[in-house]
């Protein structure tokens, strides 16, 4: 008797739910060991993280605040990953979206009707994110330049552009040298519904469902799946691969750009330090844990946001580093990846007599 792994044709439904769940538990366990090493009680720590993130409505609104950009970037990144286009530039796309929304809010307001300021800021933020993602997209499609590196390098460029602006040209003249732009006019503020949680939440959730529908029920979504799984077959069937990839990348970037526009119009109301919080990187974890499913991304984003908020909480209450939450997040992907062997392959037991044993 021996064991072999056989490639599955479809992803097992049970594994789809089970693998992320087990991965999360394994991550809790491994981080728990780290906590014990640093003389902290893991149960107490996780308890206060949970209370900090989900223990009260006020705390939960803070979790939602962080979940919104994670949903958008996670869905965006997930779309690109479906095409095996490794867009790890969500951070830069988010920042560039935020910068462009700031530009609209600060300099266009006098020329626009009041009701139009916010929609234009959000629209331009999304377009900016799409354009920022288009750079690696076009380079990949036309010249086959590695998109991982280009998109990643552009994160640094976008962050430095933002810095150059809020330290330099756009600095608030009345800010006494504080690095940041002027406060936006009220017309460019995105309404909040509770605490700092803003209406962007509904947009993000809605977009997640729309994305699911588009991927599963439209021709374009079908093409995206085909190009991602088997580009050769897609080509034979007449799918324009370059066009499909590029359109998906633009949408992927637009999601992150919108997340950045939300951050400046709803949370900070200005461009300042702290726009690049690492959401674009956490988005990779969100997308992978949700197995690139946009609806699942919504829920995973809330969980990941909870880890971030909980991490801040244990810093305040227990003096543990806030990076705690990030360590927990970083741990999740390892068991996830190890588990993917079981979602992609099935274990087959072959007895000696079976003719397959000669394989």
């Amino acid at each position: 008797m021996r064991f072999v792994f056989e490639k599955r044709n479809t992803v097992s439904k049970k594994a789809f739910v089970l693998v992320p769940l087990v991965a999360f538990l394994v991550s809790l366990f491994l981080t728990g060991i780290l906590l014990v090493v640093f003389k902290a009680n893991p149960f107490v720590t996780y308890g206060s993280m949970f209370v900090g993130a989900f223990g009260s409505w006020v705390n939960f609104t803070e979790t939602l605040v962080k979940a919104i950009p994670l949903m958008l970037t996670g869905i965006g990144v997930g779309l690109a990953f479906r095409l095996k286009f490794w867009n790890i530039g969500a951070e830069g796309q988010l920042v560039f979206g935020g910068v462009t929304a700031t530009w609209v809010a600060l300099f266009w307001t006098p020329f626009l009707p009041v009701w139009m300021v916010l929609p234009i800021a959000l629209l331009f933020g999304s377009i900016a994110g799409a354009l920022w993602a288009a750079i690696p997209g076009v380079l990949k499609v036309s010249l086959k330049v590695d998109e991982t590196l280009v998109s990643l390098m552009l994160n640094y460029v976008a962050i430095l552009i933002a810095q150059g602006l809020y330290y330099g040209a756009w600095i608030d003249p009345k800010g006494m040298g504080f690095p940041g732009t002027m406060m936006f006019p009220k017309s460019a503020w995105l309404p909040r519904f509770s605490g700092r949680a803003h209406v962007g939440l509904f947009v993000a959730v809605l977009l997640g469902f729309i994305m699911w529908f588009v991927l599963n029920r439209t021709k374009w979504g079908f093409e995206v799946k085909m190009v991602g799984q088997n580009p050769k077959a897609a080509k034979v069937m007449g799918v324009k691969i370059g066009k499909t990839v590029l359109s998906a990348i633009l949408i992927s970037g637009a999601f992150s750009g919108l997340a950045g526009a939300f951050e400046v119009t709803a949370i900070s109301h200005r461009l300042q330090q702290g726009l690049a919080m690492g959401y674009g990187y956490t988005a990779i974890i969100v997308a992978w844990m949700a197995q690139l499913n946009p609806i699942a991304s919504i829920f995973v984003a809330v969980l990941m946001a909870g880890l971030l908020v909980g991490g801040d909480q244990v810093q305040m209450m227990m003096g543990l580093p806030s990076a705690m939450g990030i360590v927990l997040q970083g741990m999740i992907l390892f068991p996830m990846l190890a588990g993917s062997l079981f979602t992609d392959y099935k274990l087959k037991i072959i007895s000696k007599e079976s003719p397959e044993a000669s394989v």
Partner: protein, 317 residues
Amino acid sequence: MIALITSILAITLRAGTSLIYATIGEIYTERSGILNLGLEGMMLMGAVSAFATVYYTGSLGLALIVSMLTGIVLSSLHAFLSITMRANQVVSGLSITLFGTGLASFLGQRLGPASNGHYLIGLIGEKFTPFAIPGLSKIPVIGAVFSQDILTYIVYLIIPVAWFYMYKTKNGLNLRAVGESPQTADAMGINVYRTRYIYTIVGGTLVALGGAHLSLSYAPGWTDNITGGRGWIVIALVIFSMWNPSRAIWGALLFGGINAIQFRLQATGTTISAPFLNMLPYIVTIVVLVLMTWFETLNKKVGAPAALAVPYMRGEK
């Protein structure tokens, strides 16, 4: 003028050292067919573990050993996921980077002494200092090559050794065979899995040493993101060097040179604002990458291992 060129060359080599360690490490890993995008996280972990060790023990040698062990652990993890578990290598590498970045930042806030609020940031420890080689360091301009710290001197040795091993030894031949065609290598009796494990781990060890050079010599101490994207730049440098260890020096000199020029410009005071000056390495990376890819399509062959990032399974085509 000569003094200026000498000083730029000296800083270039200092800044390039960590890049060369990591580039040669990643060349070896990729030559075996494994793509490791975890470099940024591994360099950060190498840097933080080295600095914490030197802070408490005062021993630079021990610091190097600890950072190498860190590299071994993290690259073994990548090797296990991508070789044994056949996970997607891009995602596994990204995970190492995300995890390494988070853990390094966590340790930087936790490993320090209570008097510093457990922070490592802002502490001073032992560091590698440059020393001149008598005679050679007196040569105009070239003298800069011989007024470096020990880790840079080791680099001068590692480059030819890495080249010789890869192209002139049986092991090197086997390594390249595994990266080009694991099926053929397997048929020739080479253990593909073992070869990939070995060079992924050897590579990771060198990468962590690159990180250690940052916290022990180039920018002594610990700050979050001390690497500033060097781990990613190295992945571009591997392409730039066409997977040949002897060419690793050029990319490292280019990027070390950019660092040196930034240094000089900022020191002399310039009208270009700092953020825009700091963009230079990242933009140059993109330009280099585009040029190299374009060059590759013109010449057909640059040297990327044919089986790079393709998991191998015996008996599966």
